[in-house]
């Protein structure tokens, strides 16, 4: 289609999409550059996880986080003192479960207190949140639990108390535990966790996830969203934000009066958006780059949309070499939104354990959806324009 139909007005669009395919623009490379820039600015959340021996700290961490960070085991506690698990998006400090004995208890409290103090000396190390686990079937809130939570609160740390393994106890028992906690601790956020996801929980792991997200400093949000697989809605929300930002930027670039100057900028903005989305959804970025997925997406989008785009550019008579602002925005929006939904699907499949080859998600449907989204955006926008004009 493109071969026998090359109106000049599509030239820039061609650069942006089709020509990338021909090697003029290496999308993969730009993607990688944007990724490097992005990762440099990412701040990893530092989360401290605490609780008695065998209350299921590691299990909780792995239930909240997408990738297995802490490997649970039985037998001797794996953690001596505090074990730190790091990956590229999050740092989890898993404290050794406390044991009985006055010395051990005093040591434990000192360990936690000193650790928080020590970490607060360096901005990037300071602890952002604490998750304090109490096993619900154990049916006890001990003094040490209360004292440790108070200790952390006194250090101005946001603490969530999580009743773990609630599936293995009764509703009343959980209520009693919560009442005891509220009685003994002021301003305490209590959540419940269970391996059995079917049990209705008043405040479960999704809520813990949302609470954690709220308590984290702004710069850590993306990394936490990336690391977590609890709350796909939060990921969608964050994606929307990313898409909106990029769409607005694209509109600005599209409106640039200097011919040809817009294409590279537009490409960069779009790639930055894709990077952010891929990160939010925790796509395997190495695989994305290695499979030159981005190149093939961009070129296919260009090809399949060329016709559609043409219809939406009513005035070919203007300079014709500039992607108009609306088109640039619509393209960015369509690409971003469709990419987000596809990532959502990938994420769900990962959770259900039926994930396929990454490339297979970017099939004909994907490109059709980009087209649909593009049209919708253009229609929506022109409708709004109409309204605006009428009002004026």
């Amino acid at each position: 289609m493109l071969k026998d139909y090359e109106p000049p007005s599509l030239y820039v669009i061609n650069i942006t999409f089709a020509e990338g395919y021909m090697g003029v623009i290496n999308f993969g490379e730009i993607f990688q550059n944007e990724l490097e820039k992005f990762v440099k600015n990412i701040k990893k959340p530092n989360i401290l996880v605490l609780g008695g021996s065998g209350v299921g700290k590691s299990t909780l961490v792995n239930l909240v986080l997408k990738r297995e960070v802490a490997i649970p085991g039985s037998g001797k506690p794996e953690t001596k003192g505090i074990i730190t698990y790091r990956n590229d998006v999050i740092t989890i400090h898993d404290s050794e479960g406390y044991e009985s004995g006055e010395e051990k208890q005093a040591y434990y409290k000192k360990l936690i207190g000193d650790f928080i103090e020590k970490k607060s000396l360096k901005a990037e190390d300071s602890i952002h949140l604490a998750w304090y686990c109490i096993s619900a079937p154990s049916a006890r809130v001990n003094d040490v639990d209360i004292e440790t939570v108070k200790l952390m609160q006194s250090k101005r740390l946001a603490v969530a108390v999580i009743l773990t393994q609630v599936d293995a106890t009764t509703e009343e028992a959980c209520e009693q535990l919560k009442a005891v906690l509220r009685e003994n601790l002021s301003n305490v956020e209590i959540f419940e966790s269970s391996i059995d996801e079917k049990i209705p929980l008043e405040k479960g792991l999704n809520e813990l996830n949302a609470w954690s997200l709220e308590k984290l400093p702004e710069q850590c949000r993306n990394a936490f969203i990336c690391a977590s697989h609890r709350d796909l809605e939060a990921k969608l929300e964050e994606s929307k934000k990313a898409v909106n930002v990029a769409t607005a930027a694209a509109a600005g670039i599209g409106a640039s009066p200097i011919p040809f100057s817009d294409a590279p900028l537009l490409v960069a903005a779009q790639q930055a958006m894709l990077v952010r989305l891929a990160y939010i959804w925790d796509l395997d970025l190495k695989e994305v780059i290695a499979s030159s997925l981005i190149d093939s997406i961009m070129s296919t989008v260009g090809k399949s949309l060329a016709g559609t785009i043409l219809k939406f550019i009513p005035s070919l008579n203007i300079v014709g070499m500039v992607v108009n602002a609306a088109v640039a925005a619509a393209l960015t929006y369509a690409l971003g939104t469709t990419f987000s939904y596809t990532c959502h699907k990938i994420c769900k499949d990962q959770i259900d354990g039926k994930v396929q080859d990454l490339a297979s998600y970017f099939d004909k449907d994907f490109f059709d959806n980009v087209g649909k989204a593009f049209k919708e955006y253009m229609k929506g926008n022109s409708a709004e324009d109409d309204k605006g004009q009428k009002k004026a």
Binding site: S53, E99, E102, D143, D167, V180, K198
Partner: protein, 366 residues
């Protein structure tokens, strides 16, 4: 014991807070005797007696106890040890005949504190602890296997029973079942003879050690008394030597009667207990021979000779210190011999009595 009076035995339940001791007690009694709650520890700092659960022809008193709280471990250990020690000083019928230590089946291991500060000292006091895995209805097979292995590693010869004490509807929708009650009673009763036997022997050894130290003290004080402050001896003061040996002999002969008397009393009670257990389970009335067990006479081979040899050769005027050393050596030898006799007794017991007891129980199991 009166013929009409039923035989009584007792079970003490120990364990960490929240492990389900009070629930177990309520389940064993089949009624709510102890307050069970979620949240803060409920059973106060002490040991609480609930008496008279009729089981077959035996009445069983069950003692609930304050649970081990992580930050009150010393106080807990102090209390439990004191209670068990005081209890051991009582008449055998009032001892804690069986000690049950509850472990949450969902835990993968025992804490170091539990092992080194509680279980091991209790075992050293002669208690053969029975483990009850509580909340078994909540634990997975892997978890149960894990904790069983841990217990087997640490206390290879001890029994371990699985129990579910309460029937409740879990949030997962599952309704838990009560189970394991009969096994707890049965094991407590069937092992009663063995448990009491072991504890009696341990007690005998403790008594013996105590009396040996008294005897040594008495012999030496007699020596000091006879020797006077300066210690005036002659080479040929045979009269003095004879006096010391004679006195020492009588002191040591006398002393063994005290622990032996206690042991005899205990053995009689053990014998009764065994008969009651046999009756409870219609076991074949085997006569388990218990009588030979207590030593009745005291003989130290070569004691006299050694003593004479040492003393005869070296005795010098005024060398009281050296002479005293010889008397001390004499006491040591007596102590050694008596300890050996105790070891022989244990070996004998393990070989004969324990085997007989086990046989009578396995017979039932078949």
């Amino acid at each position: 014991m009166d013929h009409n009076e039923r035989f009584r035995t007792s079970i003490l339940i120990l364990g960490k807070t929240g492990v389900g001791k009070s629930s177990l007690l309520n389940y064993l009694f089949g009624e709510n005797r102890e307050k069970v709650a979620t949240g803060r520890p409920v059973t106060g700092q002490g040991i609480y007696r609930h008496d008279g659960f009729p089981y077959r022809n035996i009445d069983i008193d069950i003692y609930d106890s304050w649970g081990l709280e992580p930050d009150k471990a010393k106080a807990w250990k102090g209390l439990i040890e004191k209670e068990v020690r005081n209890n051991g000083a009582k008449d055998i019928k009032d001892w804690f005949h069986t000690i049950i230590y509850c472990v949450d089946a969902q835990r993968s291991r025992l804490e170091d504190f539990e092992v080194t500060d509680i279980l091991t000292p209790l075992e050293n006091m002669g208690n053969r602890i029975m483990f009850v895995l509580t909340k078994c209805d909540l634990a997975s097979e892997i978890q149960k296997k894990g904790i069983r292995e841990e217990l087997k590693k640490r206390f290879p010869e001890r029994l371990c029973m699985e129990v579910g004490s309460v029937s409740v509807k879990l949030r997962s929708g599952r309704i838990t079942e009560q189970f394991g009650r009969e096994a707890v009673f049965e094991n407590a009763v069937l092992n009663l003879g063995e448990n009491l036997f072991c504890k009696s022997l341990k007690r005998y050894k403790e008594d013996l050690d105590e009396y040996l130290s008294y005897a040594r003290r008495d012999v030496l004080s007699y020596f000091e008394d006879q020797a006077g402050p300066i210690g005036l001896f002659t080479m040929y003061d045979e009269e003095f030597k004879n006096k010391i040996i004679k006195k020492a002999k009588s002191i040591y002969q006398n002393l063994i009667h005290f622990p032996k008397k206690e042991l005899d009393k205990h053995i009689i009670f053990v014998g009764k207990a065994i008969k009651e257990v046999q009756k409870a389970y219609d076991l074949e009335k085997r006569n388990i021979d218990l009588n030979y067990i207590a030593p009745t006479s005291f003989k130290i081979e070569g004691w006299d000779n050694d003593f004479w040899e040492y003393v005869g050769g070296i005795l010098r005027l005024g060398r009281k210190g050296h002479y005293r050393e010889l008397v001390e050596k004499m006491c040591e030898k007596a102590c050694e011999e008596l300890t050996k006799s105790h070891e022989r007794l244990i070996a004998h017991f393990e070989k004969r009595v324990l085997e007989q007891l086990k046989k009578s129980i396995t017979q039932r199991a078949q």
